[in-house]
């Protein structure tokens, strides 16, 4: 292992990617909480959010090649995030409306949801590939990316800072929403026992929609943040989607704070694992850790017994 500088640099890299995993993982965990259903099309919501933010920025960035600075830069990032979140939210709503609700109405078996999700996912990313092209597309430079601060020898760039700050804000907001608001109370009620919640006057259908849209908003904004670093492409959702799902399971699926913990942990494990061994072993190491954790704690790090599905 290298010096203290490298250790902190790897930690910063890992936390940054981990924060993105956490943001996406929330979408899986929230939906799983209320429906006990893995929304496998969530990765496409993430991808569509990235394109939403990208197109908004591309429309607004001045074409003279100059990199925006100051307030203009901050404004553009905000526009990208909002557009990404809006696209993600809209995609998640459509997904729920078209791929899940009809099945739920008919009381379809669990397996049907899974197939429907995979179908929706294939549909969405192939459509995106056709419409947006098969090449990777970069988000235009929204700010000059330079080292802003040095923490224990780790250089933190503007971009990492933007990603970390946004992700942190979103995670805190969701945590507050689920733990302290009336809406959060109804989400938790539906998660515990949908039937009882319904009898107590909770609009279960509305809660389900809101949960999907909430996950979509997060994934969309997360997609935009991801695309700022790694470019957007029609297949971009797959790997981060799997990783975020892993993070959600690692932390204990259905648990909001668990998803955050799982995401950050996975990011760190990947970062250090890729450095210590070989970058190609990154996924091997990450999944070995997952299996190891699940052997000891089958319900994930912060997982608890789950309620009955809606």
């Amino acid at each position: 292992m290298g010096s203290a500088e490298q250790i902190s640099q790897l930690a910063v890299d890992g936390l940054m990617v981990g924060a993105l995993y956490a943001v996406i993982a929330l979408g899986y965990t929230l939906v799983y909480g209320v429906l006990q259903l893995i929304n496998f099309a969530h990765s496409e919501v993430f991808m569509l959010g990235a394109f939403g933010g990208l197109f908004a920025c591309r429309a607004l960035v001045p074409g003279d090649g100059a990199t925006p600075a100051g307030l203009a830069a901050a404004g553009l990032v905000l526009v990208g995030l909002v557009a990404g979140a809006a696209a993600g939210g809209a995609a998640a709503y459509t997904l729920e409306r078209c791929a899940y609700r009809p099945l739920r109405r008919r009381g379809a078996p669990r397996l049907a949801y899974l197939i429907s999700a995979i179908g929706a996912s294939l549909f969405a990313f192939n459509l995106a590939g056709k419409e947006f092209g098969r090449q990777s597309v970069p988000v235009p430079d929204l700010f000059a990316n330079r080292t802003v601060v040095t923490v224990l020898g780790a250089e933190i760039s503007t971009q990492s800072l933007v990603i970390a700050a946004t992700a942190l804000l979103m995670l805190l907001a969701v945590d507050h929403l689920v733990a302290d608001t009336r809406l959060g109370l109804s989400i938790r009620a539906v998660a515990q026992d949908a039937e009882c919640a319904g009898l107590m006057g909770v609009d279960v259908q509305r809660v389900i929609v809101v949960t999907f849209v909430l996950g979509g908003l997060l994934a969309g904004a997360g997609g935009f943040l991801y695309a700022m670093t790694f470019n957007a492409s029609y297949t971009m959702g797959f790997v981060p989607g799997i990783k975020a799902f892993t993070a959600a399971v690692l932390g204990g699926i259905g648990n909001v704070r668990g998803a955050v913990l799982g995401g950050l942990l996975l990011g760190l494990v990947e970062s250090f694992g890729g450095y210590l061994f070989d970058a190609s072993y990154k996924n091997v190491i990450a999944f070995t850790v997952l299996v190891g954790v699940l052997l000891v704690r089958p319900s994930g790090l912060l997982g608890t017994r789950l309620g009955r599905p809606a």
Partner: protein, 402 residues
């Protein structure tokens, strides 16, 4: 007793079996009609039609390089078809291998199965070339790659494989010389994408660096999106130059990650990254100053290739030739020169046998082959991104100041 259900079961089965048969017969009839229509009395003066295959990535992440090559073939074919003195016309049959080794054999088989096909331009990438060539050799179908540069490809005993681009041994040696004498690197980080092409190139570079006494670190990483920890690793290594042996989508992300971390050493890659998509995907600010070596000159700035560039733009609705376009154009013309010699009774065997003695001027170089199928002599050029544009610095030999 069991007699009653049996006819019930067999009858539908028989109809099901018969229907595809009928369709097949009808299909053959149609194809037969189409063949006579093309071969005999077609509308362009009863000329014979030969098919030329194309195999390369026309979809997938690295499609741009395949499209560049395809457009080069198209340019040559359009031009040849306009030539009234030719006793035949040409038509392209494209087969997409996505640049993936595992897709190669399927794509190759599709071309082999077409009896009117005389020769293939491609495969474009080294991986699919390695997996496809055994089939071409077996079928005795000539394949001329515009771009597969893995050195070992001409040593594997393929009997119908030629390439109009220099192998990576040539590029690697020149790149190593450039790193040692022009970049004056004290330590080089040689990273490849673990592909057939990448490992061949990185191996050649490392042999060159050894000879030039430049220390280096070898590393490989499968194509991915996240090069953050790889960048940290490179910076910790202390190398003042990075050479990435791989294709442009990954080179773009690697460059982005390195520059994002404030890496200020030289960043280089090879012909697989020599496309404007690199600049676009890395972002102009990050790509600035990045270097690319290529055993290919830029047709757009080469005055002797002006006629080709003009023709290419005409055929491809204004697009400029890209990397491998010129090579694909040359490969097609070389095949056509053999067909011209053979006239209207060419067959796969005669085309393949005659191809070895091709000797003609091309737009990228003189097209003349060694016995093993490698093109004779080749110059390696260095490109650099300046003000967001890929510009040719010149051949490596002329950049080295004594």
């Amino acid at each position: 007793m069991t007699a009653t259900p049996r006819p019930l079961r067999t009858r539908p089965a028989r109809t099901v079996a018969l229907r595809p048969m009928a369709a097949l017969v009808a299909g053959f009839a149609l194809v037969g009609a189409a063949l006579t229509a093309c071969g005999g009395d077609s509308d362009d003066g009863g000329k014979k039609e030969y098919l030329i295959g194309f195999q390369g990535p026309l979809s997938g992440d690295s499609q741009q390089l395949g499209i560049n090559a395809y457009n080069g073939v198209l340019t040559a074919v359009e031009q040849l078809n306009g030539d009234k003195s030719l006793p035949f016309t040409l038509r392209i049959v494209a087969s997409d291998d996505q640049g993936l080794p595992e897709q190669g054999p399927t794509a190759a088989q599709k071309l082999i199965d077409n009896p009117k096909l005389m020769a293939v331009v491609g495969p474009v990438f080294s991986g699919p070339t390695k997996s496809s060539e055994p089939l071409y050799s077996q079928a005795g179908l000539l394949s001329v790659s515009p771009s597969a540069t893995n050195p070992a490809l001409t040593d594997l005993g393929f009997t119908s494989f030629y390439r109009v681009i220099a192998p990576d041994t040539v590029q690697g040696a020149a790149a190593a010389e450039f790193l040692a004498k022009v970049v004056k690197a004290k330590r080089v980080y040689s990273l490849d994408d673990r592909s057939e092409y990448g490992t061949g190139l990185s191996g050649a570079i490392e042999r060159g660096l050894e000879q030039a006494d430049v220390p280096f670190t070898h590393d490989g990483i499968n194509p991915t999106k996240d090069y953050t920890s790889q960048a940290t690793k490179i910076m910790a290594d202390g190398a003042d130059a990075v050479y990435y042996s791989g294709y442009y989508p990954e080179y773009a992300l690697l460059t982005k990650a390195l520059r994002g971390k404030g890496y200020d050493g030289a960043i280089l890659s090879g012909d697989g990254s020599n496309d404007d998509q690199f600049i676009r995907q890395a972002g102009t600010a990050n790509a600035e100053g990045a270097l690319i070596t290529c055993p290919c000159s830029d047709a757009n700035t080469d005055p002797s290739a002006a006629a080709f560039v003009a023709e290419y733009k005409k055929v491809n609705s204004g697009l400029k030739p890209g990397t491998y376009s010129g090579e694909a154009y040359d490969a097609t013309n070389a095949i056509a020169s053999v067909l011209r010699k053979l006239g209207t009774d060419a067959n796969r065997e005669s085309v393949r046998t005659a191809f070895g003695s091709v000797d003609m001027p091309g737009v990228t170089k003189r097209i003349k082959f060694e016995r093993n199928g490698d093109v004779q002599g080749s110059t390696v050029y260095v490109y650099q991104v300046k003000d967001g544009q890929r510009t040719v610095l010149g051949p490596v030999s002329s950049l080295i100041k004594p």
